[in-house]
Symmetry: C2
Subunit: 527 residues, 2 copies
Amino acid sequence: MISWKNFDELSSYKKLEALKGAADIKTALAGEAGGDRVAAYCAPMAAGLVFNYAARPVNDEILAVLGELAGEAQLTEKFAALYNGEVINTGEKRLVLHHLTRGQLGDDVIADGVNKRDFYLTQQKRIAAFVEKVYSGEIANEAGEKFTTVVQIGIGGSDLGPRAMYLALENWARKNGCFNMEARFISNVDPDDASGVLSGIDVAHSIFILVSKSGTTLETLTNESFVKDALKNADLNPARHMIAVTSETSPLAKSSDYLDAFFMDDYIGGRYSSCSAVGGAVLSLAFGPEVFARFLNGMAEQDAMAKNPDLLQNADMLDALIGVYENNVMEWHMTAVLPYSQALSRFPAHLQQLDMESNGKSVNRFGQPISYKTGPVIFGEPGTNGQHSFYQLLHQGTNIIPLQFIGFRHNQMENDVVIEGTTSQQKLSANVAAQIMAFACGKDDDNPNKYFAGGRPSSIIVGDRLTPEVLGALLAHYENKVMFQGFIWNLNSFDQEGVQLGKVLAKKVLARDTDGALKAYSDLLGI
Amino acid sequence: MISWKNFDELSSYKKLEALKGAADIKTALAGEAGGDRVAAYCAPMAAGLVFNYAARPVNDEILAVLGELAGEAQLTEKFAALYNGEVINTGEKRLVLHHLTRGQLGDDVIADGVNKRDFYLTQQKRIAAFVEKVYSGEIANEAGEKFTTVVQIGIGGSDLGPRAMYLALENWARKNGCFNMEARFISNVDPDDASGVLSGIDVAHSIFILVSKSGTTLETLTNESFVKDALKNADLNPARHMIAVTSETSPLAKSSDYLDAFFMDDYIGGRYSSCSAVGGAVLSLAFGPEVFARFLNGMAEQDAMAKNPDLLQNADMLDALIGVYENNVMEWHMTAVLPYSQALSRFPAHLQQLDMESNGKSVNRFGQPISYKTGPVIFGEPGTNGQHSFYQLLHQGTNIIPLQFIGFRHNQMENDVVIEGTTSQQKLSANVAAQIMAFACGKDDDNPNKYFAGGRPSSIIVGDRLTPEVLGALLAHYENKVMFQGFIWNLNSFDQEGVQLGKVLAKKVLARDTDGALKAYSDLLGI
């Protein structure tokens, strides 16, 4: 029997509070014992990844209490309830089924009269068949020429995740002979976004994917019109250049305006939709359905590991629990995500939505106000670039910000240069190793300007190379981490009521139904 | 006589503390009086911009104390000392002269035996002459063909600022007939960065700019080798495809490896260098020297306004002071920068370096530890995209994060579409107006899940259109804001000792001079 309790009602929460600052990473990582700790504080992940938390502010005692907390908060049971099809999204009264797009973790889930795993697999197969026709030229433009560019029109989860995944695999695909089509993205209602993308592509050889679950997203429908105008101005028939990704009940689903339509449903939130048709269509067109399938396999393998009730073998749960300790006990309310991989340049922006939109809440899953901190602010840029930017504050600023590094032993393009006896890849990896230690252990110096206090925590996920499976495992890790944290904080991580008020007020502005300050701001902006 | 005192030694600091929470923006912006406040709390900026702070947590009493603080901290005098050539960068014993690249605010500054304003102007003229030769074909590739692409090789300030400025003006230049060359950027030591850029350009028609003040930046020299290999592999002579931007004393300055070299100096920090040859070469090649000159004019006009001792007429100083009140009195230690303009997509990433590297310090300008909070964490993405991403936490999360909006009445491309009776530009502007009010005033609701507490502060900078002058004014505003905050916190905002330790440790890793935890991390990363 699952019991949904607030975090501060749990007895392990009190125990955790009593252990505030009990682990001093500066001491723990010093000397030979530091090497042992790095070897020991390591949890396996899918696709050969490891999650190393030696520089996080924990010790065996804290880990034991975190294990208790996992049990008391029933994390494993709640995850099972989710993947077995309970109504976890309480506010919107919906199931939460994104895991089913990549594997079957438990029972068959029947909803809307269908087996949902079959439904998602069917969409993947339909996309794969469509893509093969595009590649073969069976589906082509009106002149019978093949499409060479795919343009995704979507915003939020229909943009950030797919875009980040595309960039993550673009070079890998080039190297591995599966860079089949270039992808571009139009998201912002700023008309310059669509204009800019359209001015940089060959419209006659482009296929557009309109992505909107409801079929009513203002930005997306507006940008669709923009694109249709561009196609018409080039004497092209928009219906021959566009497909839709939407829900079966949306007005877009059966429209003759599109070559075809592929479906998602209400059980997959936008920020969890890269594994659905939202990511599937664009990534399959760009790199081939096999690459997308490999990405899903990596996610599925990581999901399966998230079921493990042994905390020390469950990197997703462990990362979640340590994060809660840092946020609620140590009172560090920000997290920086720092991938040492240029391919992951937009991965932090995706995690920013994933995490902040899921857990940036002040009421529990029953709509009751809570009195503890919830989701942290997430930001980040790739290393080594960040080192030459905001790391100054991370090292010597007046706030402590837990860091999440990601690193790989090999690069994607397998093209490198030796300078001063080492490759660029070695320099990249050496930098991330060095940063972890610099943040954790600091440096004494008689000159306070050159003094580093240390004690600044981090973990690192290390892999061999960023492949589709590895990318999938990474993404699933963070999705599951956010889910577990939501369970601990007793939140509904799957709605987003906080975005509604702005929409309502924007409509008022456009309808000139304003007075006072709102009218004054509207006037200032020339509306 | 200037007196450099710590912030908490100032009597106005105590007065400010006593006014914690004295201004309730939820009340202040309600009703008809809210409209009056929006009209009143507005300061002029250069290039027709206005800085509106009606939704920041201040009232006339707080503003009066902030004015006292400005006087007591001698902000105007310290700015004058800086632009008149005093050694403001105390740690490195250097002048701070980036303002001189765009105008003469005070006395002639003579350093290294030359008039520095003349020196910077000379570099601008040399770049302009070089660009004209590239455009005319006088400087061309070995086959006598014109260059069509310019690639900047640099990291940190040699990358983030110039890249953000390029993206900000790319569409504007397309529309206004001055999109002369496409620019690309190579920054990361990750070899996939250079490989990815090189695989997407026509190397034979590309001119590369190597940017390193010292001529010793590891990432940049490594990437130079990468590019040289690519040129050689294409049977091209690297010396015919590369220029350098560096200091006159660097090993790159007189090398026959380059077509030409353009100079910056030690008095311009990397994060302040978009206005120097670092930004000048790439932006002048991309859009023409006239466009770069217009950008500098916008900066100069804003700089001149920053001299104004009347706080309410000095948007840069006012933004700085309100930010200090939010950070040190209200204890909000993060700031989100949210431009409602896709062209400014990387502007927040540049401000992240500008602000966090300048003021992310724990010692004062004399190297003494301080006991108050300094620079905030900066992050941001363009709206409306952010609305569909992390705004959930901004609206309903458990931390309050002050927001900095930027909006324009008109878009750059002047291409738009009408849906439901309004243009995309109107929708974009309506959204930013709506968000300000939603954040400030919130909404009561019987359902706590749909309740918005409000009281979440923001300001907005509004302009007519994002032109080169407007971009310059925006950038100078933030530079000057950071400078004034550094003065208030008594920091040296112009060094970055916090980046050194990581460099030292990375060298140890590459030399295999490690043990303990550092060796264990190196092993984990396969170095």
